[in-house]
């Protein structure tokens, strides 16, 4: 596996990726951000919403209907997934930056979004290949929603729920470790 192979795989992978979820989510978040700016409302919930939705869109991009066919090729699944994430991330990152600039205030919430994405990818790595992406993409949505809904619970449970927002780099590190451990699955 070398850089040339990756470069050659980039174009067909770009064509194979389903871009609609990312474009739809980005468009809707831009509209929400614009409305919030006009109303001068607090951006907090939309930042959480945006981070979760963008993370889920990134995890959804791992879905590859041809994965069973490609299992025989020498490029490992983990490398193909990294390539997909890099390609989608190259679009998602500026899109998320645009959403963040549309929102009032200055919170970018890049690290929490990364933590949610990494968690989803880690879950996808360890699940059976037929249901991995759909379940894994639900993880960022569920985690962020639970944090918003149950934020008032306090204590250890409240701290654990908010970990992706308060200690995102730790979450990224743990998720990265899980991905590394499951890279041969």
């Amino acid at each position: 596996m070398n850089a040339t192979t990756l470069r050659q795989a980039a174009y067909p992978t770009t064509r194979a990726i389903t871009w609609a979820p990312l474009v739809a989510v980005g468009g809707l978040l831009l509209a929400l951000g614009t409305v919030l700016r006009l109303l001068d409302g607090p951006p907090g919930p939309v930042l959480v919403l945006g981070a979760a939705a963008m993370a889920a869109a990134l995890v959804f991009s791992l879905r590859d209907p041809a994965a069973p066919l490609l299992a025989a090729v020498p490029t490992p699944l983990i490398v193909r997934r990294v390539l997909r994430l890099a390609l989608v991330g190259a679009v998602a990152l500026p899109l998320w930056g645009l959403v963040a600039t549309m929102l009032p205030g200055d919170g970018l919430a890049l690290a929490p979004g990364l933590a949610l994405t990494a968690t989803g990818v880690a879950v996808a790595t360890w699940l059976p290949i037929d249901r991995d992406v759909s379940v894994a993409a639900a993880v960022p949505l569920f985690w962020a929603s639970a944090t918003e809904l149950l934020g008032g619970v306090g204590g250890v449970a409240g701290d654990a729920l908010a970990r992706w927002a308060t200690d995102p780099w730790w979450v990224v590190a743990v998720a990265g470790l899980l991905v590394a451990l499951g890279r041969h699955r």
Binding site: T18, A20, P21, A24, V25, L28, L29, L32, L39, G41, P45, V46, L49, A52, A53, A56, A57, F60, R63, S134, A137, L141, F142, S145, A146, E148, L149, L150, G152, V153
Partner: protein
């Protein structure tokens, strides 16, 4: 297998089933699928935990718990929409075109089947209403205009059920018209999230009739900070000037306002169903939806002082 055996196992009846039987069979299968879905029960668990956290904490402001009650079913609305979108997304599979039953009947079966999770919402709402009654009611307002025994009116209790119907219609439209399930799931998440968790953005007297999840009481400014609250009618529930407002405000609660809102939501439901269902049903649903939505809005604006 011999020809004789095949002949014995082939059903003798060739008469086509009635549309009602087809719808009933499809609806039974769909409702079982919904009720067995872990997604629905994740929504129930999230709603239950949300309700527990909300009701267990002291009111941040007068009437906070009464106001928060309608949003407690928010997670359930989202999962209902996602589940119904999955159901209607199967219409997009090529195999549906080969099916011996037309899309109109299949869609009707799917919609009737989706009433199972709506029934779950109804049961949970009834349980919540019984709990509030057993508690002796909730707190609204501050002295001298305060009650500790506020109970939800019937139209207010119907709102979660009507919202669940709207969730079904929105999910059906998203599942039927969007190509990818991922897109519909994410759009439903991004769509439901603000109307549930940013409910305070739709509370002003001008906007609240247009809201999706309507929370009462509606706060109506009635006098400056220097006003004597005893001059206001004794029947009014009031909140004092303080952290959240610089004036005296009337806390307006109305069953008629909630009824108008239910009608508005039913109108929206019809409009989304018009998007989801086959073309020949659209004119009726569009007409009915527009009529109900306009009537519901007019009633609400007429009721709010």
């Amino acid at each position: 297998m011999s020809a004789t055996m095949i002949g014995e196992r082939t059903p003798a009846r060739t008469r086509p089933a009635s549309p009602r039987a087809v719808v009933a069979a499809l609806a039974t299968a769909e409702s079982r699928r919904h009720l067995r879905s872990p997604l629905l029960w994740v929504g129930v668990a999230l709603s239950g935990a949300f309700a527990w956290v909300t009701m267990d904490q002291p009111d941040d402001w007068a009437g906070a718990r009464y106001q928060a009650a309608p949003i407690l079913v928010g997670p359930l609305l989202l999962v209902i929409s996602i589940a119904v979108a999955g159901s209607f997304h199967r219409e997009r599979l090529g195999v549906s075109e080969e099916a011996p039953v037309g899309e109109a009947l299949r869609s009707t079966g799917r919609l009737v089947g989706a009433l199972a999770p709506v029934a779950v919402v109804a049961v949970l709402t009834a349980a919540g209403a019984i709990w509030v009654r057993q508690q002796g009611g909730l707190d609204i307002g501050e002295e001298p205009g305060r009650t500790l025994h506020a109970q939800f009116t019937l139209p207010e209790l119907l709102q979660p059920v009507v919202l669940a119907l709207l969730a079904v219609a929105v999910g059906a439209a998203a599942g039927r018209r969007l190509r990818h399930r991922a897109t519909s799931t994410l759009l439903l998440f991004v769509g439901w999230f603000p109307v549930v968790l940013v409910y305070w953005g739709f509370q002003s007297r001008q906007v609240i009739p247009l809201s999706i999840v309507q929370t009462q009481p509606v706060s109506l400014p009635v006098g400056p900070i220097s006003a004597n609250p005893l001059d206001f009618p004794a029947s009014w529930l009031l909140t004092q000037p303080g952290e959240y407002q610089d004036h005296w405000a009337r806390q307006f609660v109305s069953g008629l306002l909630a009824a108008g809102h239910d009608v508005w939501l039913l109108g929206l439901t019809c409009l989304f169903l018009a998007v989801a269902l086959p073309r020949h049903r659209r004119p009726v649903l569009l007409g009915l939806g527009t009529l109900l939505a306009a009537g519901g809005l007019a009633l609400q604006y007429a009721v709010i002082p």
